[in-house]
């Protein structure tokens, strides 16, 4: 019930799937959604980045509420910055740093975004597909 109320509070068109509820939003609204979810005591699960054709990146943030998965998705051009939710969810720190390591995503609002899995001087974006490594 709380998950349903929270979905209503966040608004938008949520789609029910076998794995949970999904909502597509502009990346700019993720911080506000994170605030609402923390108030409702939703647990941050992780974030996922995925390369789409034409240098578009699909980013999704996932929360758990009473066992129900709530997923928020944004599509953005590679290289566009997205707001950080670390101030709201400290548990998102590693997820954001890893996303920067693999997909070179810049997170706004953080003091810094050190590497997590890569070495300190490695170039971020290790998982981005190159022309010789097509989809």
């Amino acid at each position: 019930m709380r998950a349903e109320d929270t979905r209503l509070q966040i608004g938008g068109t949520w789609i029910e799937r076998a794995d949970g509820w999904w909502l597509t939003v502009p990346a700019a609204s993720v911080q506000e959604i994170a605030h609402t979810l923390l108030k409702a005591e939703a647990r941050f699960v992780t974030m996922v980045a995925q390369s789409e054709p034409n240098h578009v990146l699909k980013l999704s943030w996932h929360w758990d509420m009473e066992g129900t998965l709530l997923s928020v998705v944004s599509f953005l051009d590679e290289g566009i910055a997205v707001p950080s939710i670390v101030d709201t969810y400290p548990g998102a720190d590693w997820a954001e740093r890893e996303t920067r390591d693999y997909y070179a995503v810049t997170f706004e609002g953080r003091k810094d975004t050190p590497t997590l899995m890569l070495r300190d001087d490695d170039k971020p974006g290790r998982f981005l597909r190159t022309s010789g490594d097509s989809l």
């Binding site: 647990r43 390369s51 066992g67 969810y89 548990g91 590693w94 590497t115 899995m117 890569l118 070495r119």
Partner: protein, 358 residues
Amino acid sequence: MSYKIPIGPYHIALEEPYKIELECEGENVIGSSLKVGFNFRGIEWLAERKNITQSIALLERVCGICSNVHSMCFCMGLERIGNIEVPERGQHIRTVMAELERLHSHLLWAGVAAELIGFETLFMQIFRLRESVMDALESISGNRVNYSMNRIGGVNRDILDDTKIREVSQAIRTVTEGTLIPLLTTDQTVIARCKGVGVLTRLEAIAYGAVGPVARASGVDTDLRRDQPYLAYGKVEFVVPVQTSGDVLARVVVRALEIVESCKIIDQVLDRMPQGPIHAGDIYFVPEGNAVVRIEAPRGEVFYYLATNGSDTPLRVKVRTPSFANIPSVAAMVLRNTIADVPLIQAALDPCYSCTDR
């Protein structure tokens, strides 16, 4: 005046590469920073460049303890995308494997914790029990670590004789209920060493995204086996142990109680094991799609996101392990504790750096 103590990446107190830098005032910890990635293997990257059959074997290598969980979660994700139904018997066998693996993991952790507490005899007794679980896993799969049990649409091997599994379950339940739990909850040495140490409050657990026994020891009543039943979990009865004190002792007690619940689940699943096929045939492709699968691994929730395009190679394989979710909460746990408590606090998390670094 504060000073910093670096522990790791290679240190006698930590048997896996990981670094924690403690900021201290006297003996007290007032801050910390963590560093991982020393074992980075790029398993997600590799899985996106191998076919799905090869990736089953690859993902089983994410963790050396809960290896079965990873190949199972990967297969379940592909089964969800492809609408592939796993036969009932296959689901029951997967449940037995998952719970034996939980016993193996929890007993390994309990042994290590006993040694860290300074209780050598208990460590030996627990490891003797753990050995019997390894034997049971070997009797089913032929392997003691990487079991190779999972395939898309079911399992590779049947349970032909469950005698050994029942004996192991009974022995573990007897020792855990008769000795381990009373000892862990009443022994003054254990209580003095663990009570009030490394507290993670309920709200901290939620904000840090803690999962599994760590979250349940902090009062977060969560368990995917009950909340989103999968495999045969919806057909058996079990209790989800929850403690509220959030300290090392609570984490010890939650895991000990979970050992008993796992034995109960195994017994029930074996009792109601249906006849029939164990897999849905040879499957090498799944259609285009994407799906999230989460299952309750021994250390907590495992999260897999899979995307496919109809070929035999996945587009995206995202693996979020429970240790990746739990380790950052060490920063909150070590605050206001002494340096001498840090190894125990870290051990109580049951961290796996192999899982974390993938």
